[in-house]
């Protein structure tokens, strides 16, 4: 009535306005420096909420579902994948193609080729869950942008193993801890 509702609302926005400056005081000199941020601002904290992306990065949760990677068994030094092709058959978008190698390595069957097409993958995670060997994982890779779709987004066996060695040296997924922001 008589603009009191308006004034009430304006007090809320003013409070937020002041809060962002109060919140900034705490991190004043570092605010625009390049630094990793491990967690988003807490639920009850007040102040500016946005993350200044290229400088600040939030950690990825261990279960974050990014592009696939093939995990390597740290003891044997070869991939856990036995080329069974279950992942290929369970994928709803037909993004995976696996062939099995003729010879065994270390008494274990291995894939000969593995082709993973990130163009069509929808990161549903079925392939990872179905894998009998737990040989697949999701890498916490975030910046996957390319200038063209097509080949740049199709990963082969080596690239996937590389990703696996980089992000999951222990050879397990979900990762043990939150992925550090790079």
């Amino acid at each position: 009535m008589l603009g009191f509702g308006i004034l009430k609302g304006m007090s809320v926005t003013l409070r937020r306005f002041v809060d962002t400056y109060v919140g900034d005081l705490g991190k004043f000199p570092w605010r625009y420096r390049s630094r990793p941020v491990y967690k988003r601002m807490g639920i009850t904290e007040r102040g500016a909420f946005t993350i200044q992306y290229p400088e600040e990065r939030v950690a990825m949760f261990p279960r974050y579902r990014g592009p696939l990677m093939l995990l390597t068994d740290p003891e044997k030094g070869i991939t856990r994948c036995i080329g069974c092709g279950l992942c290929e058959r369970t994928c709803p978008t037909e993004s995976i193609k696996v062939t099995r190698a003729e010879e065994k390595v270390d008494d274990q069957r291995v894939p000969e080729t593995y082709e993973y097409d990130m163009n069509t993958c929808m990161f549903c995670g079925f392939c990872v869950q179905i894998c009998p060997q737990d040989a697949l994982g999701h890498s916490p890779e975030l910046e996957m942008g390319t200038y063209s779709k097509g080949d740049a987004l199709i990963l082969n066996l080596d690239q996937m193993l590389e990703l696996g060695r980089k992000h999951a040296p222990g050879g397990v997924w979900p990762l043990e801890k939150e992925a550090e922001p790079s």
């Binding site: 009535m1 008589l2 609302g9 003013l14 937020r16 962002t20 400056y21 500016a48």
Partner: protein, 402 residues
């Protein structure tokens, strides 16, 4: 002590002295009319440059404040703290392709992009930016502002009409209706002040407040609120930004404009918003008067404070609808402004000028008016309050699932 006062005095008058010095230099080798001519020219130039420069600052100011209100930082990439963001925007706007729709009325379409800027700069001429700092102290100052301010309407309607775009047409129509109806309360609310001053000149309005030793906002709070509301509507700022109501009619009258022509509209809009704040400062907040700081600093502090309120309102309030907008003007603002005018005339006759008794009488008068409105409105407001009903069980019969 005296030295300090001298320095303050010097800082206060620095711009005035500068212009005297400049004209004295010119007088050395130019005839009188030449000096006058060049001085006028120089003043206009200064005002235009000032206007353009203030846009750069106001734009960043606005975006930053809106950002902070919304829990984010606003532009902070280009330049220190993002202060150069506006330069980047300008470059973007200026280098963009300038599109004219094929079906548009070319002449009017192009003319409309230039037209709104001129009157906005003309208003700056009569504003006293500091003691003695006024480009032209017209004796009909306020009347001039009203007259020139009206021209903007035509420009916007030209833009809306010539674009041959239905959204633009709707935006243009809305603007004309809105600006014409808000002009009236805007003028009427100031007339109360003019009664007290007895002059239309902006400079004498400021000086009268010096004589009262009170800004007119204390004597005429209702008029101030009325003026500010009407003026916000007059320059199409939120919550009265219907002509360009982004979520409804895309961008209103400037839907079809791009590049530099669009920049012109933006320019006009920002300078307009600045000038209504400056007018409100001059008429109601005591203009350049204030202790210690130089007069022009006071003027800008007050003006930017009002501008902050504008941005703050933009960040908070929803927009009115077109018919409610009209109702609000004709059924609320105009009657209130008339009532205020009449009561002011009455009280001004009864109480002595420039006295505390007079000030208190005016204040009481305003409070009485506000309380009266509140009493009239309260029962209706009580009746209209709406709350949801919470029912623990569903009222419809159980639906058979088979």
């Amino acid at each position: 002590m005296e030295a300090i006062q001298g320095i303050l005095e010097f800082i206060d008058q620095i711009f005035v002295k500068l212009s005297f010095w400049f004209s004295a230099q010119l007088a050395n080798f130019l005839p009188d009319w030449g000096v006058t001519f060049i001085m006028m020219f120089a003043t206009v130039l200064v005002l235009i440059v000032f206007g353009l420069a203030s846009i750069i600052w106001i734009n960043v100011f606005e975006r930053k404040i809106i950002g902070r209100i919304q829990d984010r930082y606003g532009p902070n990439r280009f330049g220190p703290w993002g202060l150069l963001q506006c330069v980047a925007d300008m470059i973007k706007l200026l280098t963009k392709e300038d599109v004219t729709p094929t079906k548009a009325d070319r002449l009017i379409f192009n003319l409309a992009a230039v037209a709104p800027v001129i009157p906005t700069f003309m208003i700056l001429a009569v504003l006293p930016f500091g003691r003695g700092m006024v480009a032209a102290d017209l004796s009909i100052g306020y009347l001039y502002i009203v007259a020139v301010g009206c021209l903007g309407t035509i420009a916007i309607f030209m833009a809306g009409w010539s674009s041959r775009n239905k959204y633009a047409l709707l935006g243009g129509m809305r603007t004309v209706a809105q600006m014409i109806s808000y002009e009236i309360p805007m003028v009427l609310s100031v007339v109360g002040v003019l009664l007290l001053v007895g002059s239309l000149s902006m400079v004498s309005i400021v000086e009268a407040q010096g004589q009262w030793r009170l800004p007119f906002v204390v004597l005429q709070p209702l008029a101030f609120v009325l003026y500010f509301t009407a003026a916000v509507a007059e320059v199409n700022r939120s919550p009265f930004d219907l002509p360009e109501g982004e979520s409804e009619i895309v961008a209103g009258y400037h839907t079809e404009y791009s590049g530099i022509k669009f920049a012109m509209f933006l320019l006009a809009e920002y300078i307009n918003a600045f000038s209504i704040c400056a007018i409100a400062t001059t008429v109601f907040l005591g203009g350049w008067q204030g202790p210690i700081l130089p007069s022009w600093a006071w003027f800008f502090i007050k003006t930017y404070f009002l501008y902050f309120v504008l941005i703050w309102m933009r960040g908070t309030l929803p927009r009115l609808r077109v018919d409610q907008l009209m109702n609000f003007s004709w059924k609320t603002l105009v009657p209130l402004a008339l009532a205020n005018l009449m009561l002011t005339a009455l009280v001004a006759k009864l109480v002595p000028q420039y006295s505390h008794v007079g000030a208190i009488a005016f204040l009481v008068m305003n409070v009485v008016v506000i309380v009266c409105i509140a009493l009239v409105k309260y029962p209706r407001w009580r009746r209209d309050r709406r709350e949801v009903v919470l029912v623990p069980r569903t009222a419809t019969p159980q639906v058979d699932s088979s």
